[in-house]
């Protein structure tokens, strides 16, 4: 049973001043029915182009787009059962909230009474009751955003597309709105593709995250999987923060590996597929997966190079005896005291959280 939305071998290039830019490069992706998949990546990674290819706003150079098993690659937007929540909303400025939301239903020639019922229903769903007669310019940014959402929801699309829908809202409203979007999406069970460059947003809202870079899919998986087992350096670095230490695999057993850091420190970590004794590897160590202790305790002694304090966290850059540096985060620095430059500390690595990448 194929997914509700299937992209296969999708490629899109743009020409600008003689240069050919590959925006999307041979992309394969499947989204299951009712699932929310986020396309996450830095700007210019091709995520928005991918969304526009799904919506029909761009025509791919090659590859196919299937929605509900039907090939829609050559269909214009109005013949695809998708609806988009645009970054700049794209509300019709000369229509009221009601007319904006009703537009898609009028196009589908629904009876007046039913149109009215469904519009009011969806407006209630997004908490916009009573604002039907307002024009978009008379609404706040958050309200406009919800009109855009209602307008897309009301046509009951097979696939709902979000193009960085929260980027024009302030930080607090963004968190509220994303929770609301996720709740609605789950309740209604709408298959969704969500584009963002904000990894916290992606982590919070997604069933699965597809990390993209330079037009290519880097990794796809549940948020936990992406964070704990990044497929490559780019993913590890882009999702959260990461230290990369050069290590050697010493022993391999059924469910554990023993690795040796440059300074000779040996650590026992969960097994990662594909590594055998003698291999060089890169250990991914998250800043929060290190304990900072008194000098002499833990696995190794390190020197504080630099530190800064952001309230809930203190972040330190530490120099390891063999020259590599390590970024660590310490929770509740108020209780533990703030370390100063040059201080010596002991550190202990959380074995369970260490992940290995090939060189």
């Amino acid at each position: 049973m194929p997914g509700e939305l299937v992209l296969s071998g999708l490629t899109k290039t743009f020409r600008s001043r003689g240069d050919v830019v590959v925006a999307v490069d041979n992309l394969d992706l499947e989204v299951e029915k009712g699932e929310l998949v986020t396309l996450l990546g830095p700007s210019g990674c091709g995520k928005t182009t991918t969304l526009r290819l799904i919506g029909g706003f761009e025509i791919p150079d090659s590859g196919k787009v299937y929605i509900g098993g039907r090939d829609v690659t050559d269909l214009p937007p109005q013949r695809r059962n998708t609806a988009t929540v645009f970054q700049s909303y794209g509300l019709f400025p000369h229509m009221t909230v009601f007319e904006n939301v009703a537009f898609g239903l009028k196009v589908r020639r629904l009876p007046r009474a039913e149109t009215r019922r469904r519009v009011l229903e969806v407006l209630k769903l997004v908490n916009l009751e009573g604002l039907e007669r307002r024009y978009p310019r008379e609404l706040s940014g958050g309200q406009q955003q919800r009109v855009a959402l209602a307008r897309a929801l009301v046509v009951e699309p097979q696939v709902l597309l979000f193009d960085e829908p929260l980027s024009n809202l302030d930080a607090k409203l963004r968190v509220e709105t994303r929770e609301q979007i996720r709740k609605l999406q789950k309740e209604l069970g709408i298959t969704s593709v969500y584009v963002t460059h904000d990894q916290a947003e992606a982590m919070a809202i997604s069933d699965r995250i597809a990390v993209m870079n330079e037009g290519k899919l880097q990794q796809i998986g549940p948020p936990y999987e992406i964070y704990a087992h990044p497929a490559n350096r780019f993913v590890a670095d882009f999702i959260g923060r990461a230290n990369f230490l050069t290590v050697k695999v010493v022993e391999a057993e059924d469910n554990r590996l023993e690795i040796e850091l440059k300074g000779g420190v040996r650590l026992e970590i969960p097994r990662v597929e594909g590594f055998t004794p003698g291999m060089q590897a890169v250990a991914v160590i998250r800043p929060e997966a290190v304990d900072v202790l008194q000098e002499g305790e833990g696995d190794v002694t390190a020197t504080v190079v630099f530190g800064h304090y952001t309230g809930s966290l203190a972040t330190y850059k530490l120099a390891l005896p063999w020259g590599e540096t390590l970024e660590v985060e310490v929770l509740s620095p108020q209780e533990k005291g703030f370390l100063s430059e040059g201080e010596k500390v002991g550190i202990r690595f959380h074995r369970q959280s260490i992940h290995l990448l090939f060189e």
């Binding site: 706003f57 269909l75 645009f86 970054q87 700049s88 307008r151």
Partner: protein
């Protein structure tokens, strides 16, 4: 290639769009390309035989082919230079020197843009012709006499008619120069003159070049002024007209048309593809016309004086036409009468109503067609889009008289026989004036957030519904303004339609010219006054409509 094929498949899934694209391309092919092709064809073929006779004569320097060409160039170069100079002074006085009465001067300077250009020639004859007011005065009291017909008259009238275009261009350019640049120069110790010469002027060069090219083209294309005032200084447009209507020498007319087409198209190409990329202007969003005058008070009074004198002359010219329209027989019996208006509203009423009717129909069709082309060109990524853009804009560069000849050659005989009908005039109006609507339409659609119409098609609306329900309402204020100007341009049009008017479909501008021709200057002046009033009326009512639309909230383009 495969991607292109996909685009075509895409198009087939939107039948309304496909149909519209094909219809527009067909229309442009038939009513823009075919006439031009016919002109080219007839310049080489005579009675079915290939004879580039007149081209050979042109290149071997035969007088009656080369003279009009050189005359046209001389006039165009001089008028372009003078207009740009005056336009620059006017604009500088307006934007930088903050002279007293700027708004009045600005209004006076835009008058010639909306009135028929040949009003200037008519006024010049009323003032400076054989029986002109000033001529008479100078001869009587000083014994001085002159002949305004020929080069001096052409320079004078065309400069007055076209310098407002330079003014508008220079106003835009100077207004967009960030005052901070001039202020920095002053701050670094440069004098005001040095700042002007080393900072302001270089920054304005692309605008100056643009103005030179535009006026050069306009002067080359001008028919109304030369036909009235050229005397023994024949220019290309009038010679083309005479070759066709007087000598029935189609190959000569066609050859001269090509000779005229080359410099105008060259100027257009330079302007569009080269100059447009050379702009130094950085839009800063800062208010530009505000602030204290940045010139010395001496310069300020010099600018004021120049602008004042020039504006007085323009008002004098227009005043003379109005005054002349109330006289019995200009230069012979200057007693006041309403007879001319009686004539215009009895004999001439049919010409006036023809002009209004045909211009209104052409504006309706042309406006809609123009905005559709603009929409497809800016928004829909389809094959043939570049071609459509080019075809829709090409008549921007083609002189009206050449379009007129093309229509005669293309539609005089079956399969499409249109000569003598209203349709041929309407079609000429459309194909000649649509480029302006397309250009303005593209400019306003670029202001409109593309996401708005993407949202519409995303919600299931096809091309037709998106265009009529979303795009048209949103651009309607600007479109109405564009159509009012198109209407004015059609009413005042002469060069293209003079070739195709028929007894049944005679137009008011042509009637004016024929009155000048038989020396009935007072009646001509009455026609001219009526035309000016009609055009002003159209522009003013457009203004009222647009303002009320904007008040009803049509101003937000969704950005």
């Amino acid at each position: 290639m495969r991607a292109r094929f996909r685009q075509l498949k895409f198009l087939f899934h939107d039948p309304a769009l496909l149909l519209v694209v094909l219809l527009i391309l067909g229309f442009l092919g038939l009513f823009v390309v075919l006439p031009l092709f016919k002109v080219l064809q007839n310049s080489f073929y005579y009675k079915g035989v290939f004879t580039p006779q007149y081209f050979l004569e042109f290149f071997s320097g035969h007088r009656y082919v080369i003279r009009p060409f050189l005359n046209s160039l001389i006039v165009a170069v001089l008028v372009a230079g003078l207009s740009t100079l005056l336009g620059f002074i006017f604009a500088f006085a307006d934007v930088r020197a903050n002279i007293p009465g700027r708004r009045v001067f600005r209004w006076i300077a835009t008058l010639p843009i909306i009135s028929p250009p040949f009003i200037m020639a008519l006024a010049a004859i009323l003032l400076l012709g054989h029986n002109g007011l000033i001529t008479f005065f100078m001869r009587k009291y000083f014994g001085i006499s002159w002949n305004i017909y020929g080069l001096p008259g052409l320079i004078l009238t065309e400069t007055f008619a076209f310098f407002p275009l330079s003014f508008l261009i220079m106003e835009g350019v100077l207004g967009n120069i960030d005052p901070a640049l001039e202020e920095s120069a002053l701050d670094l110790g440069a004098s005001k003159l040095r700042t002007f010469l080393r900072v302001t002027l270089p920054l304005a060069t692309p605008g100056i070049a643009g103005s030179l090219l535009l006026v050069f083209t306009r002067s080359l294309e001008d028919f109304g002024n030369p036909i009235i005032i050229q005397g023994r200084f024949p220019v290309l447009t009038t010679q083309i007209y005479l070759a066709i209507t007087g000598m029935y020498d189609v190959p000569l007319g066609a050859t001269l048309s090509i000779v005229l087409l080359v410099p105008t198209v060259l100027a257009f190409v330079v302007q569009r593809y080269w100059l447009s990329r050379k702009s130094y202007i950085s839009v800063t969003g800062r208010p530009s016309t505000a602030g204290p005058p940045r010139v010395s008070s001496g310069a300020r009074w010099f600018l004021f004086g120049t602008v004042f004198i020039l504006s007085s002359f323009i008002l004098l010219f227009y005043g003379m036409v109005i005054f002349g329209s109330f006289t019995k027989l200009w230069g012979i019996d200057n007693s006041l009468t309403l007879d001319n208006y009686r004539y215009v509203f009895t004999v001439g009423i049919q010409y006036l109503s023809n002009s209004l009717k045909l211009a209104a129909i052409a504006t309706g069709i042309g406006g809609l067609l123009g905005i559709t082309v603009a929409y497809i060109v800016t928004r829909k990524r389809i094959m043939l889009q570049g071609l459509m853009d080019f075809l829709a804009m090409v008549n921007f560069a083609v002189p009206g008289i050449v379009i007129g000849i093309g229509y005669i050659l293309a539609f005089n005989t079956p399969p499409i026989q249109l000569t003598g009908t209203a349709a041929i005039i309407i079609l000429i109006f459309i194909s000649q004036r649509m480029p302006v609507v397309v250009r303005d339409g593209v400019a306003m659609l670029q202001q409109l957030d593309p996401v708005i119409d993407e949202a519409s098609s995303d919600l299931g609306a096809g091309f037709f519904r998106t265009f009529t329900r979303i795009v048209l309402p949103l651009v309607s204020p600007a479109l109405i303004a564009g159509m009012a100007y198109m209407f004015a341009a059609c009413i005042t049009s002469i060069s293209a339609v003079v070739m195709v008017v028929s007894p049944k479909w005679y137009l008011v501008t042509v009637a004016l010219l024929s009155q000048v021709d038989i020396g009935a200057l007072s009646i001509a002046a009455a026609y001219g006054t009526v035309i000016i009033l009609v055009v002003l009326g159209a522009i003013i009512s457009m203004d009222i409509v647009v303002k009320s639309l904007l008040q009803r909230g049509f101003s937000r383009l969704g950005k």
